[in-house]
């Protein structure tokens, strides 16, 4: 269970290592400090690594680092109950503090729900009034003026125009085309499922243990450095690893992590044995729209890969 706590720490450390020098890293330093404090038991006295990892996760949400809706409190409750039943020993002080933290997250979640459930107001001058605008966010004084003006006026500056909403019946040709497409997609989906379950059977039983023994953060950093040599170009995955099978696995797993962090984009040229391509996402805003047709067509395969 200690891995959970370390995963949070590693996650933060890795993000820190990715931040360029010009970027302000004070924020992430603060979170690191906070996690270390939790480790030292300054926030709450927690010795158990399992409880420590839950506390760290909760704290990050409460500190607005993560979206409260990304935390499934039910799952945490189930895990915690299981742990308590299995362990036999319960530290009620720690349990109480965890409940308080869970409650804070529930409150954050419900606040969002409340905002949505509120009936539209006639005037909203003070709708955003409880938020102090932080002037350091703005580069130009008029930017602050704009934000102020938008938040304080009763109506938003933009509205969805009212247009007609005519619909027509689906034609038989459309239905047949949709069926044809659906069949092909379903075939692909089921083939992937089959390959996945086959691969799972081939993985040695102690694989998970071995992976955990590796230093994931370091692996990802090494892969990231190798990618850096290609100057943002799309690279076939095999150019990133040497002939060693473990190096292959390490690079593949690291690339998946980088994709999850939206640092790179991966896609496969042709399913299921085509070349896997990796591309570093760069700073330019055009990057997202500049992807070639090939990449877009392979989106589906890429999504499948991302969930392997």
């Amino acid at each position: 269970m200690k891995e959970n706590y370390e995963a949070v720490l590693n996650h933060l450390l890795f993000h820190k290592s990715l931040i360029s020098e010009e970027d302000d890293s004070t924020r992430i330093d603060r979170y690191l400090h906070m996690v270390e404090e939790i480790d030292k038991g300054m926030h709450i006295v927690v010795d158990d690594p399992f409880e420590k990892s839950i506390a760290a996760m909760f704290e990050l949400v409460i500190e607005h680092q993560f979206d409260p809706w990304d935390v499934d409190l039910r799952e945490f409750t189930k895990m915690y109950l299981k742990q308590m039943k299995g362990g036999g020993y319960v530290n009620f002080v720690v349990a109480g503090k965890l409940v308080l933290m869970a409650w804070s997250i529930l409150k954050l979640q419900s606040e969002e729900v409340l905002v949505w459930a509120e009936p539209p107001r006639e005037r909203e001058e003070y709708y955003f009034g409880d938020w102090d605008l932080d002037p350091t966010v703005y580069q130009e004084p008029e930017d602050l003026d704009f934000t102020h003006a938008v938040l304080n006026r009763s109506d938003p500056p933009v509205m969805k125009p009212v247009r007609t909403q005519n619909t027509r019946p689906v034609t038989l040709i459309e239905l047949a085309d949709a069926f044809d497409e659906a069949r092909k997609e379903a075939d692909l989906q089921m083939k992937i499922d089959e390959l996945r379950s086959k691969s799972r059977k081939q993985v040695p039983h102690d694989f998970v243990k071995k992976v955990h023994m590796e230093n994931l953060t370091e692996d990802i950093s090494v892969t990231w450095k190798r990618l850096g040599k290609f100057d943002g170009q799309a690279v076939p995955l095999h150019n990133l690893y040497n002939h060693d099978i473990w190096d292959r696995v390490t690079v593949f797993v690291s690339v998946l992590f980088l994709a999850m962090m939206q640092k790179v984009r991966i896609w496969q040229r042709k399913f299921p044995h085509g070349e896997i391509m990796v591309k570093t996402l760069t700073e330019s805003e055009d990057d997202i729209v500049r992807f070639s047709e090939e990449e877009i067509q392979n989106d589906l395969t890429q999504e499948k890969l991302a969930v392997v």
């Binding site: 009212v162 007609t164 027509r168 019946p169 949709a178």
Partner: protein
């Protein structure tokens, strides 16, 4: 703002036949004002000879395309069922009776949302089977799409022909 234009806006916005009371409530005018505006709108629209008309249907009024134009431009309207949902509907019709769990293997997580939507449209029927739901098409399915089939077997055959007729 002209009263006639306000009532015109209401008809354009609603896109369906509305009673005088509903319009009056929606835009904050009196019944008499709305009635007067409606009858002048009917007249104005019929005199311009444009593609759009305002007509009285029983107690209700509606803004719509003149019939002769509707046919010509119908193809430009959006299809009533979005493509993704249509794909799922086709798979159910072809594989029926099919378990929802099996459908999920074919189309992924969105299966659940789609089943709910298709059921609300009365296009499919569901019944509990084991831990999953068994899905079949409803009687309205062929009607809705204009397929000449009176039972599920014929419907399945219609889709089957599409598979065999398709180029390899």
């Amino acid at each position: 703002m002209e009263k006639d234009a306000i009532v015109e806006a209401a008809l354009f916005c609603a896109g369906r036949p509305m009673e005088t009371e509903e319009i009056a409530e929606g835009v904050g005018l009196t019944l008499e004002e709305v009635k007067a505006s409606l009858s002048s709108l009917v007249k104005d629209y019929s005199s311009t000879g444009g593609a759009v008309e305002v007509v009285k249907m029983g107690k209700k009024h509606v803004m719509q395309l003149r019939g002769s134009y509707a046919k010509r431009v119908m193809g430009l309207a959006e299809a009533r069922i979005p493509k993704d949902l249509l794909k799922t509907a086709a798979l159910i019709a072809y594989h029926q009776p099919i378990l929802q769990s099996h459908l999920q293997k074919m189309v992924g997580q969105r299966a659940y949302g789609h089943v709910k939507e298709l059921k609300e449209m009365n296009l499919i029927l569901t019944r509990a089977k084991g831990n999953s739901l068994e899905l079949t098409t409803s009687k309205s399915f062929p009607n809705y799409f204009g397929i000449d089939a009176t039972n599920r077997e014929d419907l399945r055959k219609w889709f089957q022909e599409k598979v065999q007729g398709a180029s390899p």
